[in-house]
Symmetry: C2
Subunit: 410 residues, 2 copies
């Protein structure tokens, strides 16, 4: 499962060394330009450019061009792996073979001139809780003196439905949510702005091909359903959540905003990043057994707060993979739809500088995080900007990036 | 707030005494006919007929006719109260004034010839937990010896997001879900079909007009956003839910199916059913104070199991109203979308024959419910059919019905 070093693909489009968007990536997004604000369209990132995917598909008279001229990825995602792969092959050919340059070059828009929009219409959004370190940290902080992991955690990929309607694109301003919270020592709640506003660095998976009610999707079929991968910041109001969450889980503590990266990286671009996930002990139920279909992914996340790196969570350590999560989501017969988004849960590694939330980085607010500029943080302050990025290695060894998921409070 | 007895409206369409669909109701649905299976269209129920709403609007050359010729209610719901009210006035005139009969009569389809579809595209689905008796019963069953209500319950309208993609129309078969559950006395789960399959009788509210991110919707604006009311059966696998739900709430125990009635009753038809909700003690937070906007609703629910009435839950006793729930859902700045559905939670009255779930009717399976035919039930068996209906009083005293929400297991 080690990344294969194959021949480096070279595009005639200039791609800087270390660019997150080499020709082995080709992530999808939706963009508008200053001249064309009212016409959101599908683009593919290459170097410092966006290729107008619908225009290319139309120029090539592809039978599925209409799906690529839509204002969101959903129609294209609904076409399935044969079409996803066909278009990826054509994109690769167009961007590596100089013969295509006369047709393709006019369809490139500088990234700096493109305004990125939410790439897909979110159907249902489910957020998991798949990092053992994160669940352990939360247990230690919230239930000191008790076993940090609840009895179900190593059996069930624990998750909950979030609010699809407040999933927004990277850059959306983060308004500090108001709500009820129980100040320490009180018996009655107060209402006001959250005082424990936090980020959660996560990785999201976007469903292309839906499924029928009553038909579980086996783990082996993961890549037949999932189109691609994005970054997620599951903004959280810890105080609102702490007061509301019993017994039915988080609602307002999470529903005010969930940010996703502008770019969705096709699963095909991450083939070389696949790794064996951690050993599970005790063994998992049969429908979650992934010995033959390991979907660990070696993604290196970085969280920057006001421009300073504060954590580098390693996604490869996640206990539950996205393939297990998809099998779990449907084992009861629940159906999938194009545009379903499910996220990993906070990615936290074993080391304190690998934790994926301020809740953990400041240990529940008890140990303020020291910032590089001399400041400290327990939770987010107005004006703070959080930027999450991630890198994987592509088949040719070039970095695969996701752009970023970014948001400023206030 | 007592129902006003105004002059009875009479339609030239024959409406049997006691029909759930008198001219003071006029609920909306989406239907197809045997001849026209591929053209779902919006209909309005009157007596034993469905009026083709799009055809009527087109015949009258209404400026919003295109919204009524859609295959779901969403476009019409998105137009807002002035248009909802305008069309309701026109419908009433068309169905009460004989002068319209020559144009309207050909647009009537016998209900028996109409196949009803899901009336609206569900955006986000939130399920609340608003019956004090239900929450108390569950507390007594699941946490005996402890205070039955958790400390937040009388402060927060507790709820969670459910799966919008598995909300289906009444009549959809109920497949018994598989999943993990922890048999009593075990430490490790087993996987298999749920052995504690249950219904939950609820009332649902459908959002017509959305809201902006960051802008809470005050309680007073309830009727400016909510289009109508339907019945909901929140099918539940108690054993799957019991094992999975800590700490993030129910997921697979609920996500396999949620059934809604075919008909959405306009809020305007329920004006006479408004009642003062129960006194709240302790007082609720300001944004939940509904003294000036009481939205208790006097709906009498009936639950039939295999044709026998097993419970008659009174919706008027619900502790939290839908207006409070909407204010709560958005107090953190979360936005609404056309098609958002939020449900009341299980409706349970104070008397044992008013409980809204088998969990309560059989007291956690410990006291099998006796059925009229000599049988008993703890939880649902294969072949069981559950039918939930409800009645209110219209402005003219005629009953306002919702059709039913029906489902058979297996």
């Amino acid at each position: 499962m080690a990344p294969l070093m194959t021949q480096t693909l070279t595009s005639w489009v200039p791609v800087a060394v270390g660019s997150p968007f080499p020709v082995s990536n080709l992530p999808y997004g939706v963009f508008v330009t200053g001249q064309d604000q009212l016409r959101p369209r599908i683009g593919v990132a290459i170097g410092d450019f966006v290729l107008d995917a619908g225009a290319l598909a139309s120029a090539q008279r592809l039978p599925y061009a209409i799906a690529l001229t839509a204002p969101s990825l959903n129609a294209f995602m609904a076409l399935g792996p044969p079409i996803w792969n066909d278009f990826r092959r054509r994109l690769t050919a167009c961007l590596t073979d100089e013969a295509h340059r006369p047709v393709v070059e006019p369809l490139l828009v500088p990234l700096s001139a493109a305004e990125l929009r939410l790439a897909f219409d979110v159907a249902d959004y489910v957020d998991f809780y798949a990092s053992e370190q994160h669940a352990t940290n939360l247990g230690r902080i919230l239930r000191p003196g008790q076993p940090p992991l609840l009895p179900n955690w190593k059996h069930v990929p624990v998750g909950y439905h979030g609010r699809a309607g407040t999933v927004r694109v990277s850059g959306t301003p983060v308004r500090r949510p108001h709500g009820q919270r129980l100040p320490e020592g009180n018996v009655a709640p107060t209402v006001g702005p959250s005082q424990r506003l936090d980020f959660e660095a996560e990785v999201g998976f976007v469903v292309g091909i839906g499924s029928e009610l009553g038909r579980p999707v086996p783990l082996a079929d993961f890549a037949s359903h999932v189109f691609g991968v994005c970054l997620v910041n599951d903004w959280s109001a810890r105080d609102i959540q702490a007061w509301e969450y019993q017994p039915l889980g988080p609602l307002l503590g999470k529903s005010f905003l969930t940010s996703v990266s502008s770019w969705v990286v096709p699963l095909a671009a991450l083939e070389a990043a696949r790794v064996t996930p951690p050993q599970r002990d005790p063994p998992v139920a049969g429908y979650l057994d992934d010995a033959d279909h390991p979907w660990g992914l070696d993604l290196a996340l970085t969280i920057c707060l006001n421009g300073q790196p504060v954590s580098r969570p390693p996604f490869r350590e996640m206990y539950w993979t996205a393939a297990q999560q998809l099998a779990h989501l449907t084992v009861n017969g629940a159906s999938l739809r194009t545009g379903d988004l499910f996220a990993s849960g906070t990615v936290s590694g074993r080391l304190p500088d690998q934790y994926g939330s301020l809740m953990e980085l400041s240990w529940g607010g008890q140990q303020p995080l020291k910032l590089g500029n001399g400041g400290t943080r327990t939770f987010l302050e107005d004006g703070d900007e959080v930027v999450i990025t991630a890198r994987a290695s592509g088949a040719d060894g070039a970095p695969i990036g996701f752009g970023d998921v970014r948001g400023r409070v206030g």
